[in-house]
């Protein structure tokens, strides 16, 4: 950490404001790398603008793909910030204080990237303003535009208003700092003097905003799901798409908050503010959301699968046992089941005893994994040389070897996660987000590949979907853009509320001991 350019901070504030003075080679390299990815994404988009959407893998059958999956993913991640912190605020959950702003900043950054994705997907982005001049309210696309802009406005206010006292603090602290910071903080702190009247006004505004933001947030992802739900297509023609998408959005968003918490805690040494107890609480939230999402997923697939009506048969077969089955089952297992297990099992008291079994230690399990990998490579390479005919010697490996190996690795790592609950939460939340993206893809593509009329006379390659480098580059650029906005935010604004955590007597104590800290409720 470089020397802060300002003086007169308490130790505590110094640490909470560490992100404002982040710098150094590592930081510059990170920013440079992210910028390079964004520029590469822009190059890909320029290619697409020049030649048309034909440079993507999209065609008349699979007419939406990676871009729309990104859109649903980003809007989903955006969900949690405002919604979670509004609910925690209204229910007076005091432990929320250090993490709400982190969550709300995720909302802000991912909404911006999410709203960009449909524009990237448009065939004629030059006609974007037609939507304003000739927009039809009957179209779910207009619903989306209205709800996303409302949500962006609301959640920006929700992020900004409780930040005003902190901005006033920064205005004082940076009185001798760089001019742009001084001007920015003076402008944004709106003359905050911390008078009782101002505090009262702030509290009132926050209460109103917290109540208003909840239905707006729910509406956003409901409307996103209705883009699909309002069509006749098998797989999209579902009445529970609204709540299903909302639950999935909350799950992926809460996971993103856990990742952000761990990153900031590690990067700026905020262990006293973001404690293990915060990860435990967020873990409970993730478990609950994961179970709700799993329930909706089960209901969404079981009802048509039980009936196997003609229309649904195509896409259901494709995802259950057809070409997309591997991806589908991988997504269900590692996107829902495994994270919930990772957050639950290490808490069980007997888990450390697994360590006593010599075979269930990480080393033997790793050795087995390496053996498996080497054996697969050697056997597949050795096969053709040993006989005249091509013999696939990998068949010698029993089919249950891989699931058994995965189970072994899982059991071997459980005791490790038991002593490192934060690592468990981070691994789980990364899995949730990978699974969330794949699930968006699996909602869009299989349905489009199985229309009512058979796919016939399609030109070569038009009947399948293979995303191209353009789509992957733009996706990478969007993810990097999200990270850049987020880091940029933390460079300008305190990522942990200073005044809201000021009176906190002590950091949350370990499991089961923390009381309600004596903080005046906002």
């Amino acid at each position: 950490m470089s020397r802060p350019p300002h003086h007169g901070f308490s130790d505590r504030e110094e640490r909470l404001l560490a992100s404002l003075s982040a710098g150094g080679t590592g930081f510059s390299a990170l920013i440079g790398g992210l910028l390079a990815v964004v520029v590469w994404g822009l190059v890909a988009y320029a290619t697409q603008l020049r030649h048309g959407l034909g440079v993507t893998g999209l065609r008349d059958h699979v007419l939406w793909g990676v871009y729309i999956a990104n859109f649903v993913f980003f809007i989903g991640v955006s969900h949690v910030g405002a919604l979670m912190s509004a609910i925690l605020r209204l229910t007076g959950a005091e432990w929320r204080r250090p993490i709400t702003r982190m969550a709300e900043a995720i909302t802000f950054a991912s909404l911006l990237m999410g709203a960009l994705m449909p524009v990237v997907d448009m065939g004629r982005p030059d006609r974007l303003l037609t939507l304003i001049g000739h927009g039809r309210l009957q179209s779910p696309i207009l619903w989306d535009i209205l709800s996303i802009t409302t949500y962006l406005t609301g959640s920006t206010l929700f992020l900004y208003v409780p930040m005003i006292p902190d901005l006033a603090l920064l205005r004082h602290r940076y009185a001798g700092g760089p001019a742009w910071r001084r001007r920015l903080y003076t402008l944004l702190s709106l003359g905050w003097q911390d008078t009782p009247a101002q505090r009262h006004a702030l509290e009132t505004i926050m209460r109103v905003l917290a109540v208003m933001i909840i239905p707006i947030a729910v509406s956003v992802h409901t409307v996103v799901s209705w883009i699909f739900g309002m069509t006749l297509r098998a797989g999209w023609n579902s009445t529970i798409f609204g709540p299903y998408f909302v639950s999935g959005a909350l799950f992926s968003g809460a996971a993103a908050v856990v990742t952000a918490m761990a990153t900031f805690r590690w990067a700026y040494h905020l262990e006293d503010y973001i404690t293990e107890a915060h990860f435990r609480r967020m873990g409970y939230l993730l478990i609950a959301l994961g179970l709700a999402y799993g329930y909706f997923t089960f209901a969404e697939y079981l009802t048509p699968a039980y009936k196997m009506a003609t229309a649904e048969r195509g896409y259901l077969t494709a995802v259950f046992s057809g070409p997309l089955a591997r991806l589908f089952w991988f997504t269900q297992l590692t996107g829902i089941l495994l994270p919930v297990l990772l957050l639950t099992l290490p808490r069980i008291a007997w888990v450390p005893r697994l360590h006593r079994v010599p075979l269930l230690r990480p080393r033997p399990a790793l050795a087995a994994a390496v053996t498996y990998a080497v054996a697969t490579v050697v056997l597949s390479a050795a096969g053709p040389r040993m006989t005249m005919a091509r013999v696939n010697l990998t068949a010698l490996i029993p089919p249950w070897a891989l699931p058994a190996l995965v189970l072994w690795l899982f059991l071997a790592w459980l005791p490790v996660f038991h002593v490192r609950p934060i690592a468990a939460a981070v691994v789980a939340s990364l899995l949730v987000n990978v699974g969330a993206w794949l699930k968006r893809y699996l909602i869009i593509v299989p349905t489009l590949l199985n229309p009512f009329l058979p796919i016939q006379r399609a030109p070569t390659g038009w009947a399948a979907y293979q995303p191209t480098w353009v789509e992957w580059s733009i996706t990478a650029g969007a993810l990097a853009g999200f990270a850049l906005i987020y880091i940029g935010f933390s460079k300008v604004f305190p990522i942990i509320p200073i005044w809201e955590t000021r009176q906190e007597p002590a950091p949350l104590r370990p499991a089961g001991q923390e009381g309600v800290p004596g903080v005046p409720a906002l």
Partner: protein, 300 residues
């Protein structure tokens, strides 16, 4: 809670009005604005006196006559300079069940009376005309492709790359009724050739069919005509030959009718390859017992 007599009477009156509204209102028959005919009026009786009445275009495809030659597709492509990769009228090779014989099914745009594509379009680039045609203005289209996603008939196509015949290259102005010049990044589809109809001609695909399998005409006149010059009564054609519409169960109310391929005049499509996809949802032609005649006439 204390309720004064006055406010009680007020409340009672309000409750009574609500109840009367909820119970007393008879369910009025739903009438779609673009289908003007009244229920139960025989179509034939109304076939006279056309003055001032808007046209209601319909198409009838006699599957017994279609031999899958795709002349219709070629004529359409030539007429509209349809960009490569698109077929605005596509000839499908269909088989309703494993034991059934395969048959050809030309699929233009169905010009639905309850069009899913029109509902979802965010900018009115596609709309329903009084004469039943679902039009497409590609100079307005923003390329979101929502209409393609919404269409259950795969009747819409997208210009993924720069088409050959753009207004700049051909020097022609864009006219949505001709639709002969195209824009990159927009959606296209069959529009029943309104420019030709205006000139009193049959749409390009109808005129090109060497088998006379496609009939086109005005339902108000109750007359449809094919390329052989045969003009027949629309109502008689679809009722006597058990006409049906594609994916009728979706409620899109198409304006294209199909006559089942009975006693066909051509050899069936070549023995289907084993891997040929069975249609995800075969076109229905069963007449629901409670709606006799609904399939044939569909006179609302």
């Amino acid at each position: 809670m204390r309720v004064s007599r006055r406010s009680f009477l007020k409340l009672a009156a309000a409750a009574g009005m609500v109840a009367a509204w909820a119970v007393g209102e008879p369910a009025a028959p739903v009438r779609r604005p673009w289908v003007g005919a009244g229920r139960g009026v025989p179509a034939l009786a109304r076939s006279t006196g056309q003055a001032g009445r808007p046209r209601r275009w319909v198409m009838v495809v006699d599957l017994a006559k279609c031999d899958g030659c795709q002349e219709c597709t070629r004529a359409c492509t030539a007429m509209h300079r349809v960009p490569p990769g698109q077929e605005w009228i596509r000839v499908y090779e269909m088989r309703d069940e494993a034991t059934g014989l395969a048959y050809w099914l030309p699929r233009p745009c169905m010009q639905c009376d309850n069009p899913p594509c029109v509902k979802v379009c965010p900018v009115s680039a596609t709309w329903k005309r009084d004469d039943g045609i679902v039009m497409q203005d590609t100079s307005r289209c923003i390329g979101c492709r929502y209409c393609i996603a919404a269409c259950p008939y795969q009747a819409r196509a997208f210009n993924w790359l720069e088409p050959a015949a753009t207004p700049e290259r051909t020097g022609e102005a864009y006219d949505p009724e001709w639709n002969r010049v195209h824009f990159k990044g927009t959606t296209e589809k069959c529009i029943f050739c309104p420019a030709l109809i205006k000139e009193g001609k049959l749409p390009a695909c109808v005129a090109a069919c060497p088998m006379g399998a496609i009939y086109f005409g005005d339902r108000e006149e109750d007359a449809v005509t094919n390329s052989q010059g045969e003009t027949v009564r629309f109502s008689a054609l679809v009722t006597e030959q058990a006409g049906y519409r594609l994916l009728e169960e979706l409620g899109t109310e198409p304006r294209v009718y199909y006559l089942p391929p009975r006693q066909r005049l051509y050899p069936a499509p070549p023995a289907e390859p084993a891997a040929a996809p069975v249609p995800a949802a075969a076109p229905r032609r069963t007449v629901p017992p409670d709606r006799p005649g609904a399939v044939g006439g569909a006179v609302p």
